[in-house]
Symmetry: C2
Subunit: 463 residues, 2 copies
Amino acid sequence: MKKGKNEKIVNNLRRLLGHGKVLSSPEDLFCYSYDGTFLYGAPAVVVRPATTREVAAVLKLASAEGIPVVPRGAGTGLSGGAVPVEGSIVLDLTAMDRILEIDTADMLAVVEPGVVTARLHRAAESAGLFYPPDPSSSNVSTIGGNIAECAGGPRGLKYGVTRDYVLGLEVVLAGGEVVVCGGRTVKNASGYDLTGLFVGSEGTLGVVTRAVLRLIPRPETRQTLRADFKAIEQAAEAITAVLGAGVVPSALEIMDDVTIRCVENYLRIGLPLDVEAILLIEVDGPAAALSEQARLIAALCEEHGAVRVRVAQTKEEEAELWRARKAVSPAVVQVKPTKISEDATVPRSRVPALIRAIKEIARKYRLTIAIFGHAGDGNLHPNLLVDKSDPDEMARAEAAIEEIFKAALALGGTLSGEHGIGLLKAPFLELEYGGPGVATMRKIKETLDPYGILNPGKIFGGS
Amino acid sequence: MKKGKNEKIVNNLRRLLGHGKVLSSPEDLFCYSYDGTFLYGAPAVVVRPATTREVAAVLKLASAEGIPVVPRGAGTGLSGGAVPVEGSIVLDLTAMDRILEIDTADMLAVVEPGVVTARLHRAAESAGLFYPPDPSSSNVSTIGGNIAECAGGPRGLKYGVTRDYVLGLEVVLAGGEVVVCGGRTVKNASGYDLTGLFVGSEGTLGVVTRAVLRLIPRPETRQTLRADFKAIEQAAEAITAVLGAGVVPSALEIMDDVTIRCVENYLRIGLPLDVEAILLIEVDGPAAALSEQARLIAALCEEHGAVRVRVAQTKEEEAELWRARKAVSPAVVQVKPTKISEDATVPRSRVPALIRAIKEIARKYRLTIAIFGHAGDGNLHPNLLVDKSDPDEMARAEAAIEEIFKAALALGGTLSGEHGIGLLKAPFLELEYGGPGVATMRKIKETLDPYGILNPGKIFGGS
């Protein structure tokens, strides 16, 4: 019965798109059954449209037949946003990967959703410009996925997140209508901000088929320094002092003791094992101002108890300082095969309190949790290092994650700074916004997707 | 009949709020019948709630009785967003004017909607911080109004607009339910961005009763320079060159020949009357970098044909340079009693084309149009100088405005950069977004305001 239904869907899609763009072999379906989380779901079929018209045709069919559609970029998401619903059509947008325009005069790019983030970084740079959002997955992730989840990265403190760079979108709605919102101007106060509404909506309101992205002048140069602190609180005080002095670093990353140990075991580069926190601070801008800023930051870190401050004097030293931070993800998976990466986010001043709370939760549930992330934003990434084949450990991890969310919310924070809600955090959304807030979001979902086909179960759960 | 109905509304509102918060004398009603445009509408009653609960009570009554509600701050809006619908309740939010918090550690402010923008500027500054949005009306306008219309100002190029500083909102929905969206974190990827949806929604989706606003470190210092150009195109090329050199000015204002003449007639400060454009450029940031940046900008302006560049060397010289720009509004109303201020916005490179088009339109309709604005943003303010008691001139102005909008849209622009759509631009919204785009916005309006009571007629027209 189900098989017959799947065959009919596959045949209909082949008629619409041609054979080559419709995948239905078990091997293909498996490749599309997961994302960057430990979750799994079996789609009925995968389609790889090449044009907006093809996307519209798929959605028209899906809404008429009531088949769920799961839009997908590179599948690097960390909240389950791209995990297929059972029996769904996976809409793989990676074939729509053209950079249509880099406009240096108006400082913008027009791209299709399948463009890999790092490719846009390079294209902007070649034109003397800069696209700041840089999620860790940027060598693989796509702009469409970044828009869907409102991806961030270390540069968020100074430069903001994906949302801040989307000027306009072309979006295919659930029924196949194509809507254009926003535009090519850096300011727009014309009608509702549909652009902003679609950013971060995780494929539940429409499918982005084109984006106009703001680029900015490339900063002249940058300088990096590292400061080691015996106590988390000292690191936090140093951060407040730096920002209070009027300096906005282009990155302000923290690594806790567990993370430092993981990285040191992995790289053997002599990281200090007797400190609670390392801060990695980067400033960028006109060369004339940077050494003074770096000196000021170093002085403020020392004043607030840093046991050691290193200022990179060369590009090589800079790369060396960043090497530890960039190795965090490969390093932590040496400890355990499954890493659950969260992104609980709190007002900046509450970072030490959240770190303390997470450490307490790790003890309580006998888990290893490496904490690192964007301290300047209050955006931490507690990474639970577990083994998904160990059901007892997974149960403890699940309980711990719930407590971490509650701790972040109790500190005035949010469930997600840059990963989205997806499937993993859907049960907690009401804790953050209360009944009326979630009801308002749901009403918008039901209005724009009356068929309920667009990535059902994401954000709101229950599918 | 109508009078009886109005009396009933007034009595019901007095029961809810007490006598002092309900105004219904003809004099009071007249004071609330207009905004910064030439439009006029007679409300039935004005209420001045002091708490969120009182706002909710008014909306509950209004939705039950089907009475339109027009939220209002200082009434300085330039698109008619606060002009009362006939027979409406004007919801004056200026009594809710508390700055509840300036949090220096987390760099945010929590305010009620009636706080005057300039008061927040001063409060932030006293704490060593900075709230960048600075509409020209900031000495009078309120944060609630700024949020409703997504106000901007000269600092938009470097610092963005109101939308970029709203972290969270408390909003009363049409039926009186209170929703909290966003929060106190600088990053939030949790659920739909309701905060962003309410910003710029002109009181048609809900009434903002509290806002969490992001503050940033106060820039160390600033430097201003003025460059005069024989031809608009040279000024535009200089702008592109400055931004292309990686310098992002904190203000980049343009004044055209008509504007220059108006200001010179008003102030007699020796502005050049033989140039097509004056650029006023401000850079801010660490002192160490500024003089180098100012030198670079001056050189680039000269390279692109500036006949004169003046760099302010003292605070007094800086104030002198800004004096001409700040006098534009009083200066232009010396020419004619009615000024219709538009905010057509185009991609930056199209500024010269838009200026040429507007000048052609001015000739065609025998109108005086002073053009100035935020050239770095592509956000121009063509000010039509007319006399509203002259019906022929007003008819020509109306036709000219329609052509200006069409010209801006044809150049890839938008109807509004920072004034909103209100009543004046509602007839043109579909020209910008097409049928499906406007239909999507309308659906959201109908979903969140099923009673149709919230500022009806604004954005979409037809009321």
